[in-house]
Symmetry: C2
Subunit: 355 residues, 2 copies
């Protein structure tokens, strides 16, 4: 009885997520490339010796540096021992771009298309036909069905096979606006912040609504974050023997949604401590920020505001992808630090990438 209620709750949350994603899909025109504003010219890099060189002088940069100094200086009243210096970062829109459509969702849809030859029964499936034809009007009414196709297309294989599939996709896929691999569309100022925190004894985690297996493929190489520090949504996996070898096989069942109220739960499950620093960019990060800001000790809650149409994208309250509305109000009310992409960041992407 209790179990049934929980299934219903999960299903509802999944559908809410699906609704958001599909709406985004429709708006984005199935990730059609290229109709956007031209990228700005590259900017000179400040001296490499400075702390957070891609952050412009301002309240955001000062707040971060003062906080880190406060919690790491021996004898400081706000001192936090190294093993409690847990910093959690959302991924989509906080560490890398998320427009026009979450990159991982683009991958999942590509998986559906790639799986089609093995599923002749899809030929008459209205959701699949709408997807294949980029028929946005038809897709709008097929959210549940598309999510089912995604679950099927992204299951059945072992976790190692899935890992290789993601790796291959990331190696060849390009962003429709910037024409660069997705893994180059990470924010240079955030790479510097992650490194700066680690140099100061922080353990840096990703806590994302994206799936854990997708992010683990590049998190170490791109962010310096090892697989065990990546927390995300997940499909269920099952232990079994295949050809006498023990493998974990992906099942077409959602296991955990690490989004919204799921984020503090994911943090509790995988870390077991309340973070001292949390960085997000959307309403999906609200509860993670609240949970961190309710820490009895020192803490810092931050939000990226996407206000840079020229160098990246500009969106907030009305956006289907990465909507920033309730969290924005709460940040103002509670004095959380809001980082303006346009004003606080010298550079958006790493040199040579996407700009």
């Amino acid at each position: 009885m209790l179990a049934h209620r929980s299934i219903r709750q999960r299903a509802e949350r999944l559908l809410a997520l699906a609704a958001t994603l599909l709406a985004a899909l429709v708006i984005a025109g199935c990730a059609n490339p290229g109709d956007s504003a031209s990228a700005s010219s590259p900017q000179a890099q400040p001296a490499a010796t400075a702390v957070l060189p891609s952050w412009r002088d301002g309240i955001a940069r000062e707040t971060i540096i003062h906080f880190v100094d406060d919690v790491t200086r021996q004898g400081s009243p706000s001192y936090v021992p190294p093993d409690e210096r847990i910093a959690v970062f959302d991924n989509d829109g906080t560490l890398w771009s998320e427009q026009p459509l979450y990159f991982q969702f683009v991958f999942m849809l590509d998986q559906v298309k790639a799986a089609a030859p093995k599923h002749p029964e899809w030929r008459n499936n209205p959701a699949f036909r709408a997807l294949a034809a980029h028929d946005q009007a038809a897709l709008a009414g097929q959210q549940k069905e598309v999510m089912k196709l995604i679950a099927v297309a992204n299951s059945g294989m072992s976790v190692d096979e899935y890992d290789s599939t993601i790796r291959a996709w990331l190696g060849r896929a390009k962003h429709p606006k910037f024409r660069r691999p997705y893994t180059e569309l990470v924010y240079q100022p955030q790479l510097e912040l992650l490194a700066y925190l680690r140099a100061n004894g922080f353990k840096t985690y990703i806590v994302s609504g994206g799936t854990v297996e997708f992010m683990r493929v590049f998190a170490q190489r791109v962010y310096g974050i090892p697989p065990e520090q990546v927390i995300g949504s997940s499909q269920r996996v099952k232990y079994e023997m295949r050809d006498g070898k023990p493998v974990l096989v992906r099942e077409p069942k959602l296991d955990f949604v690490d989004d919204g109220p799921g984020k503090p739960v994911g943090i509790y499950r995988n870390i077991g401590r309340r973070p001292v620093l949390a960085f997000g960019n959307s309403d999906g990060d609200l509860q993670m920020l609240q949970y961190t800001a309710a820490q009895t000790g020192p803490h810092l809650a931050l939000l990226v505001h996407h206000d840079d149409a020229a160098r990246e994208f500009a969106y907030d309250r009305q956006s289907k992808v990465g909507k920033l509305d309730k969290a924005w109000d709460e940040a103002r009310a509670k004095g959380w630090t809001v980082v303006s992409m346009k004003d606080d960041w010298n550079v958006i992407y790493p040199p040579g990438a996407g700009q």
Copy 2:
């Protein structure tokens, strides 16, 4: 539909676990104290400078030391980079004692008794009456009902309140045979092994059927293992506001069973890498050992054999708690390292504790 099947599978696994636990409970006489063999006399500690001083010279100790040397020596053909040196340890029966009844289960039953005044409806509940009266014959037929009482008694509070409850219990509870706090009944040779592995760049994890919140309370202090490196079974938790503060509240629902085939799943969820070393003691560790032994690179699979009735307990194939049967056969067939508590360990518990 898929969701329902998964719930049924979980429920079945929970019932299997419940059956084992309750059988153990009946056999153990509700953890009645004191009727057991007398403890042996303290043993002299070898020189503190030696590696693994509480391990006697022999194949087990040699195998461990050679393995660690092989995977850490630069230029060795078996070299493993530090970030891949993942070592996983079962807890009950591998790092601390588990007889006559899993310590955490004793705690959970004490919680049922403590919650009774708030549940007048339990007065006529046959399972509760059997439990309160230590009526073993009646208990044997009430397994499902007892598990329900446990779920109720161990839910409702916030995770912080639960943490305090466990902490208080561990501070006052004593083992029925050794008359010592449970946290003193950890194996000295294993404490040395954990420290030795960490000194050689390994990341040490607990992967246990016990619940994550119970172990996290003492894992750092006793084993030097931080909360984020404790993987276990878990009840579901839910994010909510209580008196305007965000808290995680325990629900009376099982979320994950980290036992048997669940152990490789837990490892994948929380670590995302295949371990190079796994140490268990029972059939509940079989899949974790198989999964580690199927690692393409160097690896080491180990089992504790409880064959020391004088200093601890002697049990294997026929035991209700910590049964070692299939894993024992597979260890022999595959050449895994079996550690004899009697022959390989100089000392069982830390000096001054339980012997």
